[in-house]
Symmetry: C2
Subunit: 359 residues, 2 copies
């Protein structure tokens, strides 16, 4: 990897994305031409990570238009913009608006906790609700907005990296949770982007990656990204983080976020809260790295953040290997909420900031 | 399961044990006739759990005598005692002592952290070092001592259960870590034995079992034992325990111990320390349940407890499925040390006790 990982891209009327459920064993790019297939990819975590889901949401709306009005052979959108002149003249702007509304609600329901998905869909809605001379102008503007969401994320990740890199010294070890690199974003990363930026500035950093059960995004994806960039990485089971920090090897913990409340309470991948408690015990600074779009000022504190509970099967088996007796149940929240008092600071594209976050 | 799980037994010159690596998918009893095979079973965690390892150590010494001097067709030991009259008359008591010394050191080296293994081997050594008229008398006494170690563990687990059951109320939910039931002991259990005793006294208890990566003893074994006894059980990923306790569903946490220092610092399966930190955050009482033989008064505090680091492969793959890129390393301590300040009390066969523990 030289620069950005091609996590998700718009290609000739379809969305292409790396199937992250297959990594690290297999690198496979999926071509997705239908909204339902994209929803399945999101629900099955073939693509995941709050910023990447924002981009997926915006691209998914364009996909919805393609799917509804595509004519044989042609396409309306690709990586260059709204390219077709042949959008059916009989289709009104209001018909497109109605369809976008339906697609938007379908996409919004796939992952209830990630604020960026809803945020990106709202940005797109702001565009299509305006007055437009006709559908072509509206669609051109929607493509521009979707590209802007992508490009802004690239710029934001770079800026987050710059903001955080100064926290790391040459020779430091950093503990990470879940996947917070290019695969979770437009291609660079948030928490792991801070490490990348430090390494790019010449510092040697060792990454300790929590494996992050049940879906092992840390073991599979953060480790894969570090290896791809030549950064030394060691994986540990989630329960081993307190032991690791007790050996005083860790300069800081940097995690991502799926939603940040106005008071700083932070929803992130399950296991983050335990990590923050261990860091607190050993005086290891615990940072959250995220674009400021992850902050939801309409939510006063963590108690109001909706938490997605996922299928028991994620806990009860692993790639077909049964690990739990059939008769047993499972408790499987996808996220936990780390209270603000355990968080040393929020590394955003605007620098390192502290709550409260205004509306 | 009506009473005791047949975790490990002495049978006609061999040791039989349930291969715990195959549970819950398969229930298979291994017949082991060689010390090296027993060491492999211990190292590979086919049998594990501090009290069970003490029994395995004592039985392993008898196996060593069988293996060295067995004649075709016959055997010296079975579940009933030292049964053969045909022990070779040319073999001196000192020759048996020398061989036992070698076997003992081989067994002792298999798992450095579990104090019960060394404790059981030391108890056996106290027997063979005495003056004996001849090998037959010595071997008869050694069998008696090995049986006593087993029988005492049965009685101790029952007593631990009685000590702890009073802590639980009808309707309580209890959070457990690793396997602490019959499979970890002579057949009943320590921390999970407390739950069994409460259930036997008519209380309804719901068990939440930490899956306990990397080897999933909680998911596979604690859940299997609860199902076998008809106790409702839900499995969670290790990182989810803070979220679970934040929902205030948990009456108490009860874990086992592999070694307890004089000041109360407790080595137990990796992940225990994180659990204790989460319990502390939410004011959930955190108990250690263990036979008093787990207390090592010669060790002043946790810093002096040797911690076994195990193979990276345990973290990097799961039953043949690769979960981590080949180029990545792994941090895989088998145990962590929970500081005494996080422990509400020690549930032993002598009641609920508090450190310091005298020498």
């Amino acid at each position: 990897v030289r620069d950005l990982i091609p996590t998700i891209a718009l290609k000739k009327g379809a969305v292409e994305l790396i199937d992250q459920t297959l990594l690290p064993a297999e690198y496979k790019v999926l071509r997705i031409a239908k909204v339902e297939a994209l929803c399945e990819a999101i629900t099955s975590l073939r693509i995941r990570g709050a910023p990447a889901l924002g981009i997926a949401g915006a691209y998914g709306l364009l996909l919805g238009v393609e799917e509804e009005w595509r004519t044989s052979g042609g396409h309306y959108f690709d990586e260059n913009g709204f390219v077709a002149d042949g959008f059916p003249p009989a289709v009104t702007a209001d018909a497109v608006r109605r369809h976008l509304g339906l697609v938007s609600e379908r996409l919004r329901g796939t992952r209830p906790t990630a604020v960026n998905l809803g945020w990106a869909l709202d940005r797109m809605m702001d565009i299509w609700r305006r007055e437009w001379p006709g559908p072509a102008e509206m669609l051109r503007a929607l493509h521009g907005e979707a590209r802007a969401i992508f490009e802004e994320d690239v710029a934001m990740c770079r800026a987050i990296g710059r903001s955080g890199a100064a926290l790391l010294k040459d020779g430091d070890a950093v503990l990470t949770h879940c996947n917070t690199g290019g695969l979770a974003t437009s291609g660079y990363g948030t928490a792991l982007g801070v490490v990348f930026a430090a390494v790019e500035s010449g510092k040697r950093i060792h990454v300790y990656a929590d494996e992050t059960r049940p879906l092992l995004q840390g073991a599979r994806l953060n480790a894969w990204e570090c290896v791809a960039r030549g950064i030394p990485v060691s994986v540990l089971c989630d329960g081993a983080s307190a032991a690791l920090m007790s050996e005083k090897k860790i300069a800081c913990v940097i995690v991502g976020a799926d939603r940040i409340a106005a008071n700083g309470d932070t929803a992130n991948k399950i296991g983050t809260f335990s990590l923050a408690l261990a860091a607190s015990r050993f005086g290891v600074p615990f940072y959250v790295a995220a674009p400021s779009s992850t902050i939801d000022p309409s939510i006063p504190d963590g108690t109001a953040i909706p938490i997605e509970h996922r299928s028991a099967d994620e806990v009860k088996s692993f790639r077909g290997v049964v690990t739990v007796p059939r008769e047993a149940g499972a408790y499987n929240p996808a996220f936990d909420v780390t209270p603000r008092d355990l968080i040393a600071g929020f590394i955003t594209e605007q620098g390192i900031v502290q709550p409260p976050f205004g509306g």
